[in-house]
Point group: C2
Chain length 249, copies 2
């Protein structure tokens, strides 16, 4: 009943509809959505109609569709992402006040770093669209920390490649990467110059919840900045977040 | 094909499953979920299975179910809630630094105030669970601002009642409330002492996006605090958010 002839569940088809919305594409017509899902048009239109009726999508007066506040509420209200970012936020603010650069919180999600939060200095210009964005684990400083502490089977799958060169200096050799991960676990932080963009250096540390690494906290510095102050601020913040997480469950 | 015999769509049933998760209930067994949805057990279990397979729910090693990071990502990535709270966050931080009390951002959602963001002073104690929470529009200061600027049909539906007394001082008379809303539109802010809790006073101002009121920005002060500084800080922040929103689209 819930499955189409092709064997994907209704849930899968709803995900395909929601997945057509991105940070750059927040408004679409039902026809555009249908085309992007690759589903039969009648099926896609019916799902869009159901999602609008349930409030998960919203239709404006020009008949354009956007994600609904009800979806936001359902996704966040009971979410561990919310618990984590709420515990982290005050301490991220302190890092940002000290370091005055982008301050970020990421988790491991399907072998990528998924960004739960990003603070930018009020004068640092528009930075509206990157929360809920992803970066490869082997290239971003947050990802490297998450990968260093991931379950071994996940780590091995990533190391087995392919390891894409995001920038000229991205480490793409499995042996070098494996040695880096060992160093990250030993040192408790990573400094990754130029691995995402030539002009910047990522600095990241692990955040633990009851002993287990659940997130990475990071700052993005101009390429040749001193990193000691950032490392200290991140380690202090990570310890404070861990204390608050321990209290909260 | 997508509908059950009772006429609710698969989307409705998925919403019923997701809706069993709350700020206080972030982990459940599949059996608990099934009981809370009121759906036939076999149907609820199949939906949970589909949602786990799609990553919208996650199952831990003890077979307990929680909301998945993938759901969080799909709900936020293209969301207008994200655009709004990202534009607001730096300015909310400034309000919080000045006023040192809870600072909140809310939108109107189904005749209630839905809170998109809440900042608390690092030393203000645990406040992890209230983002994505709701308050009645006629009682909370944020809600009063949103109601004052809502489309007239929505305002009339709320005024037609019932208007529940959340606290002893909640305004529950339609005529008094109507006069308050007129005053709020004229003054550009509201001060609502004791309308949610006897010990506190809410202060809220509207936030406009391209001229239209889309949110309320508020602080919660101890009951007999002076309010002038908070009103000024909120009005300044609202203007700054409006400028950033105008730039961002």
């Amino acid at each position: 009943m819930a499955n189409s002839r092709s064997g994907d569940s209704m849930t899968d088809r709803i995900v395909r509809v929601l997945d057509t919305f991105t940070t750059e594409r927040t408004m679409q017509t039902a026809t555009e959505i249908a085309a992007r899902t690759g589903l039969p048009a009648s099926s896609a239109h019916r799902i869009v109609g159901d999602l609008v009726a349930a409030g998960l999508l919203e239709r404006d007066e020009d008949n354009r569709i956007r994600l609904g506040m009800r979806l936001w509420e359902l996704a966040l209200r009971g979410s561990s992402a919310l618990r984590l970012r709420q515990a982290a936020l005050p301490h991220m603010e302190r890092v940002q006040t000290l370091i005055r650069e982008h301050t970020q919180l990421a988790v491991l999600e399907h072998e990528e770093a998924l960004f739960l939060e990003r603070l930018s200095h009020p004068d640092a210009g528009a930075n509206i669209t990157r929360v809920a964005g992803r970066l490869p684990v082997h290239a971003s400083s947050s990802g490297l920390v998450l990968l260093a502490h991931a379950d071994p089977p996940i780590r091995e799958r990533v190391l087995a490649g392919p390891l894409r060169a995001v920038a000229r200096e991205t480490v793409t050799g499995a042996a070098t990467l494996r040695a880096m991960l060992t160093t990250i676990r030993r040192r408790g932080y990573v400094v990754a110059p130029g691995s995402i963009e030539a002009v910047s250096t990522g600095v990241a540390v692990p955040v633990r919840d009851h002993g287990e690494v659940v997130a990475a906290l990071s700052v993005v510095l101009p390429r040749d900045s001193a990193t000691a102050a950032a490392i200290d601020a991140l380690l202090d913040a990570a310890r404070a977040i861990e204390k608050d997480l321990n209290r909260s469950r």
